[in-house]
Symmetry: C2
Subunit: 379 residues, 2 copies
């Protein structure tokens, strides 16, 4: 096959999931996609784990022609070669793209959970992924791989299900987020939670008074700044002016009323924030960033060496030189603890200028493809 | 004198100010404070320039016992010794602490300017400071000194009024802000401007429906993250939990509904944001950050060497190792252009871990005092 082509998202139902908090969440739907063919021995499976704003649509085109979020990495002849591997990607628990989350209907009330959706953890997401894998009849994964929150999940998979994976690839991730990362997430959530407009849901952005709450857009814009490197911002935007107002109309500097986004970087962020409001749910954003903030293998296990003691998988840890949100030092903390535990670990710091987003942008694919392809073959 | 003691803010009226945009803003009030005594030759004057959220109350106590924002630096025997120097500090144009700004009444409408206040520049602020100095009968300043936006003003003073100053101290500043800095300011303004609550004014935080718009708090929290270093955040907060909700009540992790700020860094930011809402005006925040973003001596003069060609003052440029918002590289760009122009310039990079705020925090005062005192004596 030359191309993945059009892919349809599939759905699986489960009676429920026991959350780490003790609460039983029921029922549960998981949205997932698969690419490539499962071999007879069922030992060619790669589980791909998405980041905060991702979804099950990792590769190929959806019915509207939209490419998957990691289409540059997954496909025939690509880094994760679908001529060789059977690839699964599911929307995470708490998401808003088909898997049970705040926009799902709470059977007890008949209305969407909204802000009443229970707190979940990265571990809960991983446990649900494990249920999906089991239901698909797969007992051992060739690899789990993900970046950012997906990298946290890959690491958690290695700790939690050491007997169910042969290897794990942890990209631009951490065993626990820095206070600065928590702070940025908090301000984003604060913008959402302080939003006095009635919570809007997927596409319904305007309240009864015709007012739009832009809390989610503000949160996304903060995120975007932290995903980009200073270097990329300089190169891509610098201090260039666009003379475009928030509604897209052009104007001269003289008639500037001070409210427009006249720097290019402002228009860019505004645009990204608006797009995100159309495609994401604010309560999912709150729930998922909380899970990210609270992921802490040190708190959970006492220290990283203890956290990693049962790991049997071959581990690959990747960081990016320009990532200041999940800097190399965080990856090195993982690597050193794995080495101290005598685990099989490889580490690559990739010299790319695109910040935390380096694992997602097309410019990063050649480097990442080479590294991932080699590692998968060696497993 | 041992202490400055209680200080009262004074006010001066002007017919108006011709803004760089061409608009004539009229009338104008300037709020200012002075410390120490003007000598007979009127040559012992230090003009102190405040940062974004500062005001005229730089030293001593106000009537409520509140210490000035740079009380650690200004006073008898301190870095700027009021036994020797006559110190002036005024609230900047566009501010909300007595000098004409968005909360002032527009004589044409009889109502506060609010969001209709005209766009202003760092140059407009400096021009108004020059009018104040002249009105006080002072023809030449010993020094102009300021940090962050105050440092931009000190630099602008040196370019604009080379014959009116003997020296300038530019602390943690830049000749033009990075796109990342613009981006953070933009998101803050966006949080304010997107706030669907009727604009609140100084203390009146609640609209007709009893709803509070927290846009200004969100903007301030973003600012705070960028003013602190990662190192300070780690040392001060780390990943410690407080189990305090947004309203200050305590709760257990089990009953956590996901909306509270259970990390200490969250509670800290929340607190800082709330305090700021009580003491600052959102339209001033918009107007002043716009002025900061648009300050650009390169755009204005073609290049920095041209910008600095008329400078006659002795220049001192100070940066901090841990300041990632106005990093040392920005100070060095100023220093190198001054050197290329054969100007008298000293440069110190101070090794302090407190980020951009290093010039304001008490822990930074011993270092900064030594440097500033020595420079002022040498002028």
């Amino acid at each position: 096959m030359d191309e993945i082509g059009v892919v349809k998202t599939k759905f699986l139902q489960f009676d429920g999931l026991r959350l780490e908090s003790g609460l039983y969440l029921s029922p549960i739907t998981v949205a997932y996609e698969t690419y490539g063919e499962l071999n007879d021995r069922k030992d060619n499976v790669v589980l791909v784990l998405h980041a905060l704003s991702g979804d099950a649509h990792a590769a190929g085109q959806d019915e509207n022609g939209r490419a998957g979020w990691w289409d540059g990495m997954i496909g025939p002849g690509k880094g994760i070669d679908t001529n060789r591997y059977f690839v699964i990607c599911s929307n995470c628990l708490g998401g808003c793209k088909g898997t049970t989350g705040p926009i799902s209907v709470n059977p007890e009330t008949g209305a969407p959970y909204g802000r009443s959706f229970p707190l979940i953890t990265i571990g809960d997401m991983v446990n649900l992924q494990a249920m999906l894998v089991e239901k698909l009849g797969i007992s051992k994964l060739h690899t789990v791989i993900g970046g950012s929150m997906g990298g946290m999940q890959a690491l958690d998979w290695a700790c939690r299900y050491s007997d169910k994976i042969k290897s794990a690839v942890v990209i631009a991730a951490t065993a626990r987020l820095s206070p600065q990362g928590i702070a940025f997430n908090w301000v984003g959530r604060n913008a959402i939670m302080s939003d006095p407009v009635a919570p809007f849901k997927n596409g319904a952005l305007v309240d009864d008074n015709g007012k739009t709450g832009r809390g989610l857009a503000v949160a996304r814009m903060i995120g975007h700044i932290t995903y980009l490197s200073e270097e990329t911002m300089e190169a891509k935007f610098g201090r260039k002016l666009t003379l475009r107002d928030m509604d897209g109309t052009t104007y001269s500097l003289e008639e500037n009323d001070g409210l427009g986004g006249e720097f290019e970087i402002e228009s860019y962020l505004q645009h990204k924030g608006s797009l995100f409001m159309e495609r994401f749910d604010e309560d999912s954003y709150v729930i998922i960033t909380k899970a990210i903030d609270h992921f802490d293998l040190v708190r959970q296990h006492g220290d990283l060496v203890s956290a990693f003691k049962n790991i049997a998988a071959k581990m690959l840890v990747i960081s990016f030189t320009s990532d200041w949100l999940y800097p190399t030092s965080m990856s090195l903390a993982i690597v050193r603890a794995l080495q101290a535990s005598k685990k099989h670990v490889s580490f690559v710091e990739v010299d790319l200028p695109y910040g935390h987003d380096s694992f997602l942008v097309p410019q990063g694919m050649p480097n990442l493809t080479r590294i991932v392809r080699g590692f998968l073959k060696g497993v």
